[in-house]
Structures are given as structure tokens and as C-alpha cells.
């Protein structure tokens, strides 16, 4: 009987990095309860629906950043790709292009950034920080030039279907934005945990040289991770267009850092090779709950920034402590042998 319960528990605890995921999940529950006590509106059905919809975009870019972080790299272009996506899609729609064709063209353009990121990092071997800093600036420039340095006009009545699909509509009682995030999460979680590509992504993050020697294609695997990141950023840009009904050039500013925060709080290691997308869900939720809850608590934005910053640092600190603890234990066992 005891083993019957213990076995799956042991298996769960055996997953690398699960400790931090469980810790932050507990933290999320505590935070939510505190905000709920401070202001009962927090748990009102309207706010819960809004809150989940506010978390969805953070989760999406978090998935992208997690993929890239697990390969041991980073993607700083996320926020700019969001801006580029919203500006390109909205500009096309104001010029009378069919909204769904505009979506398709936007996705192609954004995947171009992902492809460039992947090739610059894996093929040209640029440091990922520099390569994606470059594409970040370029993508923001494209966002600005898309409509000649202006925010766009209204995307109009013709795009109402698109606005409902990405943001305002509901399916089975939940906002579509939440469904989009959920479906993409399931797909990308499946790829990461159940396919060869997923295993390769972890492998090159753990030890790129060892992975290469055992036959993993570094260029294609790294590029795939960056393509995922560009794709989810593009989707967030489309959600942004749907939300606003227009394109703003500043959309997505600093989102890449939100994405890092969601990933890192959720236990994805910035050193590569470790992390799970369930953690990213928790990380994104903590971000969203703090944003929403602190607004209800009447805290100035500065306080919110400080709190989130502290949580990010503590999360990484936990990771570092756990890792050093493990390696010293390993050394001890090795020594005793």
C-alpha cells in the first residue's frame, strides 16, 4: 500500500527541477490567497476570467523563451517580434488585405526572424545575446517602418471576426485567448517531452559537444527552438492587434524579459538543459497574479516591479543553491566510494 503511493511520488520527485516547480506552485497559491483576502474582488468570476486571459500571452512567450533557454541560449527579440507582428498584421488589414491572409503573411515574416536567430546562433556561432539583440533592434525597426513611423488606423469592421477569434470571443465559457494558449502549450509540451526533437533540445542544452558527437544536429535543433519562440511571439502580436483593434509601434516592449521571468520563476535554468513547460505555466501565472493583484491592492507600479524583480532573483538563487547542493553531494558520494 505504501509503495503504491510512494512509487508515483518518487517518480515525480525524480524529475529534474521538480522541487522548484512545486515550491513556486505553493507560492502561487499563497499569493492568490493573500490577494483574495486583501480584496475579495480578486476571486470574482469576472476577474478570474480576465486574469486568465491576461496570463495567456505571458505563457505563450514564456513557452518560446523556455524552448530557447533549455537549448542553453536566450532570445531577446521576443518583444520586438510581438511589436512587428502587431504592426505588420494591422497595417495589412488597414490596407484592405483579408485579415486571415494578413495573419498568414505576418506569421511568415516573424518566422523569418526566428530563422535568422537560429542560424546566427548555431551556424554563424554568434553569442545568442548579441545575435538576438541585433534582431531585436531590427524587428523593432520593421515594426516602426511598417506603417511609416505611425501607429495604424483602426483595422475596422472587416476584422471583427479576427478580433473575436484571438481575444474577445468565448468558447465553452472561456476566452479564446486562453484556449489558444492552452492548445499551443499542449502541442509544444508534447514536442518537448515526447519527441526526438524535444530530447535533442535538452541534449544540446546539457552538453552541446556531447550531443553533437552523438549525432544531434546543432544547427537544425537550435533553429527549431528559435522558430518556436518567433511563432509564439507572432501569435501574441496577433492577440495584441485583436485586443487593440489597431497596431501600436511600442507593443511588446520588454516582453522578452517577462518571458525570461516566467521561464526562470518556473524553474527553467538559464544554463540550459533543464526545465519543464508546466513550470512556465506557474511562472507566467505568478507574473499575471502579481500584476493583477497588486493593481487591486492599489500598489504603485514601482512596487510591482520591485516585487517581481525580487521573485526572479530568488527563483534563480534557489536553482543555483539546489544545483550546488546536488553537485557537492555527488562529490561526497564519489569520495566515499
Amino acid at each position: 500500500m505504501v509503495t503504491y503511493i510512494e512509487k508515483p511520488f518518487k517518480r515525480l520527485m525524480g524529475i529534474r527541477g521538480i522541487g522548484q516547480v512545486l515550491t513556486v506552485t505553493a507560492g502561487l497559491v499563497v499569493l492568490s490567497v493573500i490577494f483574495g483576502i486583501m480584496n475579495p474582488i480578486f476571486f470574482s468570476s469576472r476577474n478570474v476570467a480576465n486574469l486568465l486571459r491576461q496570463i495567456a500571452p505571458i505563457l505563450l512567450i514564456g513557452i518560446g523563451q523556455s524552448y530557447v533557454l533549455i537549448t542553453g541560449n536566450i532570445d531577446l527579440s521576443i518583444g520586438s517580434v510581438v511589436g512587428m507582428s502587431t504592426m505588420i498584421s494591422a497595417t495589412l488589414m488597414t490596407k484592405g488585405v483579408n485579415p486571415w491572409l494578413a495573419v498568414l503573411l505576418t506569421i511568415v515574416a516573424c518566422l523569418g526572424v526566428g530563422l535568422s536567430n537560429g542560424l546566427l546562433v548555431s551556424f554563424a556561432k554568434l553569442p545568442p545575446f548579441i545575435a538576438t539583440l541585433g534582431t531585436m533592434t531590427i524587428a523593432r525597426g520593421i515594426a516602426q517602418i511598417a506603417n511609416n513611423n505611425y501607429n495604424t488606423d483602426s483595422i475596422g469592421e472587416a476584422a471583427q471576426g479576427l478580433r473575436d477569434f484571438f481575444y474577445y470571443g468565448k468558447t465553452f465559457g472561456l476566452y479564446n485567448t486562453i484556449w489558444i494558449a492552452l492548445v499551443l502549450w499542449i502541442i509544444f509540451n508534447f514536442i518537448l517531452t515526447r519527441t526526438k526533437t524535444g530530447r535533442h533540445i535538452y541534449a544540446i542544452g546539457s552538453n552541446a559537444e556531447a550531443a553533437r558527437l552523438s549525432g544531434v544536429n546543432l544547427v537544425s535543433t537550435t533553429t527549431k527552438a528559435y522558430l518556436v519562440s518567433a511563432f509564439v511571439s507572432c501569435v501574441v502580436g496577433l492577440i495584441t492587434t485583436a485586443t487593440s483593434g489597431m497596431g501600436t509601434m511600442d507593443a511588446g516592449n520588454t516582453y522578452e524579459l517577462y518571458a525570461v521571468a516566467a521561464s526562470v520563476i518556473g524553474g527553467v535554468s538559464t544554463l540550459g538543459g533543464q526545465g519543464m513547460l508546466f513550470g512556465t505555466v506557474i511562472g507566467a501565472s505568478i507574473w499575471g497574479v502579481l500584476q493583477n493583484g497588486l493593481q487591486f491592492a492599489g500598489a504603485p507600479v514601482a512596487i510591482r516591479n520591485i516585487v517581481i524583480g525580487i521573485i526572479v532573483v530568488i527563483s534563480v538563487l534557489l536553482d543555483v543553491i539546489v544545483r550546488s547542493g546536488k553537485s557537492s553531494r555527488k562529490k561526497r558520494t564519489e569520495a566515499s566510494v
Binding site: 469576472r46 480576465n50 483602426s154 507593443a251
Partner: protein
């Protein structure tokens, strides 16, 4: 590119000399308008106002000279060209407070009268004609207050969406807005900064509506679109008042989700600017060194 623009400039100057020769009106005052760029509708409207004043006054030889894009070096070039072209007065929308002061000093030494429109530099001029953002924010607050009172609402919470805490114009608008509510029973909540991103502004506005606010204020275009979309989605009668004039904001006003938006009056800057320059050139002393060109309150009724 430099060479090409030089050739174009020479042609432009030659052309202007030729045009002037054709007019044979040596008594006309030569007034140049120099803006930050040529594309922005805002500058186009400053030019329209200036043209109107020049036509009304008659003996004014007016010209709009602007770089193709906002660039300090190009604006300095424009100032130098205006001086070389024989400008007697320059209406300038300075790129920044300090970037063009050296060029302005040279212009002044050449006897050019300087008037600022829209934004001033750190160099003495005859007059500055610009939007007083604090006063404009107060106007926005008064509009909201009036609408709330008309609905019989005399107390409640009000949400503010702004850009960030470093942009002088939006900070001034917010300060002015808060001032309008001093001494009332309304409570203005902590400002949410959303970087001018209309989607983020919408989310934060939705949170404000959940909190039960009676009014929402947006300090710039993105903020205003955000509050409008949130009010539209929630289907509430929250009073939304915003800033700037854009296609999207106007459609939100027409659909009744935004009550009013504060639009700057660039045409007034150009119109009054030329008149000031004319008076100064005629030898009149200009006593007022700052003129608030105010804002127009755009509502469903006056669109």
C-alpha cells in the same frame, strides 16, 4: 545621399529665389517654418495654420522647410539653410532643448527673429506657442467631472492609464487631470503605466473596471484606445476621457465608448506663430513670452 540632398537644397534655394523674384515684393517679410519632420500630420497642420496667417497678412513670404526625418543634424542644416536663404524670422519646433542652440545663436547673430512653436529650445526667443499639457489635463478632468455630475455620480474611484513616469508631456497631463478632482469626493487610483501599448492598457483598464471605477483617463493615444476597448467590452457606462486624435480614438468616440478626447491645436501654433513673427518684424514689442495654444475637446457632438 548627402550629395543628393545638397543638390536638392541648391535647387530649392534657387527655386525660392526665382519665385521671390517673380513676386517682386521686396517689402514682404521672409518667414520660415522649420519642424521636426515633414510626414507627421501634426506638422502638416502647423504648416496649414501658418499658411493661413501668411495669406491673411498679405506681405509675408512664407516657406515650410523641414528635414525628411527627425534628426538633429538635419534640423541644424535646415536652420542654416533658412538663414542662408535670407530668412527674417524662423518658427521652430525644436527637436530637443540643446541640440540646435548653436545654430540658433548664429541665426540670431544674422539678425533672424526666432519664435518657437510646439517645443522650445534652451535659447531666448520672442515667444513660445505650445500646448500646456498640465492645463490640458485639467480640461480633461473637468470634462469627466461634468459628465459624471450629469449622470448624478458625485463620488467613486477613477483609474488612470499613462505611458511611463519619465515622459514629461504625459506626466504633466496626469498632474493636471488629478488637479481637476481636488476637493471632490472622487478617489483617483494609482496610475498604471502601460508604455503606450494599447493591448496592455486594455488589460489594466479591464482590471480598473472590475474594481468598480466610475471613470477612466488615458494620457496618450495607446492608453486612450485601451480604455475605450475595455469600456466597450465590459459594456459599462464608465466615463472614458483621453488624449490625442486618431482614427481609432475617433471611432471609439462615435460608438460612444469614449466620451471625449483632447486634441492639440497645431494649426493655432502655426497661425499665431506667423502673426507673432510678423508683429515682431514690424517692430512691435512682444510682451507675452509663452502662449498656451490649448486643446480642442472632441466629442460625439462636435465630430
Amino acid at each position: 545621399m548627402k550629395k543628393l540632398s545638397m543638390v536638392l537644397l541648391v535647387l530649392l534655394i534657387a527655386g525660392s529665389l526665382f519665385a521671390q523674384g517673380a513676386k517682386e515684393d521686396s517689402s514682404a517679410y521672409k518667414i520660415y517654418l522649420i519642424t521636426m519632420d515633414q510626414m507627421d500630420q501634426h506638422w502638416v497642420n502647423v504648416d496649414k495654420g501658418a499658411q493661413k496667417a501668411a495669406e491673411e497678412l498679405g506681405s509675408v513670404d512664407y516657406k515650410w522647410l523641414a528635414p525628411d526625418v527627425k534628426d538633429d543634424a538635419k534640423q541644424i542644416e535646415s536652420i542654416n539653410n533658412a538663414v542662408a536663404g535670407g530668412a527674417e524670422a524662423i518658427l521652430l519646433a525644436a527637436n530637443g532643448p540643446n541640440a540646435v542652440t548653436a545654430a540658433l545663436k548664429e541665426a540670431e547673430e544674422a539678425g533672424v527673429t526666432i519664435v518657437y512653436v510646439d517645443s522650445a529650445a534652451n535659447f531666448p526667443a520672442v515667444q513660445t506657442l505650445a500646448t500646456d499639457n498640465t492645463a490640458a489635463g485639467t480640461t480633461a478632468g473637468e470634462e469627466m467631472l461634468e459628465a459624471l455630475k450629469a449622470k448624478g455620480v458625485n463620488a467613486g474611484k477613477i483609474g488612470v492609464i499613462s505611458v511611463n513616469s519619465a515622459t514629461a508631456s504625459t506626466v504633466a497631463r496626469e498632474t493636471g487631470f488629478r488637479k481637476a478632482f481636488e476637493g471632490t469626493s472622487f478617489e483617483i487610483l494609482e496610475t498604471q503605466y502601460c508604455n503606450g501599448d494599447a493591448a496592455v492598457s486594455k488589460d489594466m483598464s479591464a482590471n480598473f473596471i472590475t474594481q468598480g471605477v466610475v471613470g477612466l483617463f488615458g494620457a496618450n493615444e495607446g492608453s486612450t484606445v485601451g480604455i475605450g476597448n475595455a469600456i466597450a467590452e465590459a459594456g459599462t457606462s464608465v466615463i472614458g476621457v483621453g488624449f490625442d486624435k486618431s482614427d481609432m480614438i475617433l471611432s471609439l468616440i462615435k460608438s460612444g465608448h469614449i466620451l471625449a478626447t483632447m486634441a492639440q491645436n497645431p494649426d493655432v501654433m502655426g497661425y499665431e506663430g506667423v502673426k507673432t513673427a510678423y508683429r515682431a518684424l514690424s517692430g512691435e514689442a512682444i510682451s507675452q513670452d509663452y502662449v498656451d495654444t490649448g486643446v480642442s475637446v472632441l466629442t460625439k457632438e462636435n465630430l
